[in-house]
């Protein structure tokens, strides 16, 4: 019985996200990005780096990484983000590009500069990317 319980706990642990890593392409300008900078990029308040437009990428609604990102980096609830994007759309702003998988994220990061996204903090990085910021899920 205890083994089954332990197995279930481990299964739950595997399914949750402890933290995230914000990553950029290999040519992403070296700068100490703060949480505020990342927040500004993902809310379409900061668009340029060295005079080049940044490609920001986000996962689909409901993705656990996105849930973690919105709580720990954007520090906004779902409802608050909905209010924000309704008004932002009226002002002509656009939310980050939606990607469906980590593979898709890496594919964009490999080909577009400057580009920025985030992955699970436990991911083993093979691709040539820059780690810009790390955060625990709150």
């Amino acid at each position: 019985m205890f083994k089954i319980f332990l197995f279930l706990v481990l299964l739950l642990e595997l399914g949750t996200c402890d933290g995230i890593m914000v990553i950029g392409d290999k040519n992403f300008p070296d700068m100490n990005l703060s949480k505020q900078d990342i927040k500004a990029i993902f809310l379409d308040k900061k668009r340029f780096l060295n005079n080049q437009k940044i490609l920001a990428m986000n996962y689909e609604y409901g993705n656990e990484l996105r849930v973690c990102f919105e709580k720990s980096i954007l520090e906004k609830s779902q409802k608050s983000l909905e209010r924000y994007w309704r008004k932002a759309y009226y002002k002509g702003k656009k939310p980050p590009k939606i990607i469906k998988s980590i593979e898709m994220l890496f594919s964009y990061i490999e080909s577009v500069s400057p580009s920025i996204g985030y992955i699970d903090a436990n991911t083993t990085l093979k691709e040539d990317v820059k780690i810009l910021f790390e955060s625990q899920c709150s």
């Binding site: 308040k45 668009r47 340029f48 080049q52 689909e60 409802k79 909905e82 309704r86 009226y90 656009k94």
Partner: protein, 319 residues
Amino acid sequence: MLIKFLFYLFFLTGFVFANEGKNLYGLNIPNSSLNIGGYLDMTYDDMRRDDFLFEDIAMLFSSNSDHFDLLGEIELSHISLEGKSSIHSDVDVNVERLQVSYNINDNDSLVFGRFNSDVGFWNQAPITILQDTTTTPHVEQYVFPQATTGMMYKKRINSEERLSFTLQYNKDLAHQEETLKIDKHIALAYVFESDEFSWGISLGTYRDNNHINSHYAGLSVEYDNDLISIQSELFTEEDTVHQGKPYSGYVQSVWHLFDKQDMVMRLEAYYDKKNDLKEEIYLLGYVYRPFSNLSLKGEYVYHSKLPLNRFVYSLSVLF
């Protein structure tokens, strides 16, 4: 009428499901950056002869390139579900906004065309779907111009502060009747914006089509969190014939009671010298947002002087 209403409700909700939770609006034209969407507001006002009225149906379009943004809002107003309106004999087609922005960098941008200046907070999102009430405060309609046809320079001082300078010295691009029709407008606005708290001050002068010059100044404050949102604005306006509005302001609180339901209270007061009217307006309302881009609102508006006490209901969709 009920069947018609249910038909429109059914039709409108079709727009809604596809967007739930995605915060994506409009339709992106393939192989281009052009995005086309819109909004509509259907209101029921028990002081109107028409039962239901499409207050606004508008098309929103935008396109972004590296440094240039195009934004347009073309509106059809006052379409009665009966096919005609008692207020307007014809449907109005109007260019609410048509603006091109040149973003020099993240801190400096220039806007040309017809746009909402940075003056006031309500004026940044003046359509029903973006607000928590169907009716609009007095200050938003009668104290300073809602739209400007000219240019605006925006300067971001840092991540929390920005300044803007607005200039109009020509005729309005739009033809539709607006409360304030102007041919000259100069304004300066400062805004401080943090996560939950924002405030701003605005100063400006404008000349209306009767060649009366007016000056205004105002303070706007907003606090927003998951439990409550409070927005307040207080403006003063004086004109050269001494028929201005010494004060016009409101405090509006929105209580986020449940996940999709909010309660709204608004207190307003204004003094209109021209009509020698000092009035207070009290509003109590309820908002239900079953989806992020659909809202159903009901409110009771009580006027202390004018015979305008009434219930107003609306259904709004952003798509």
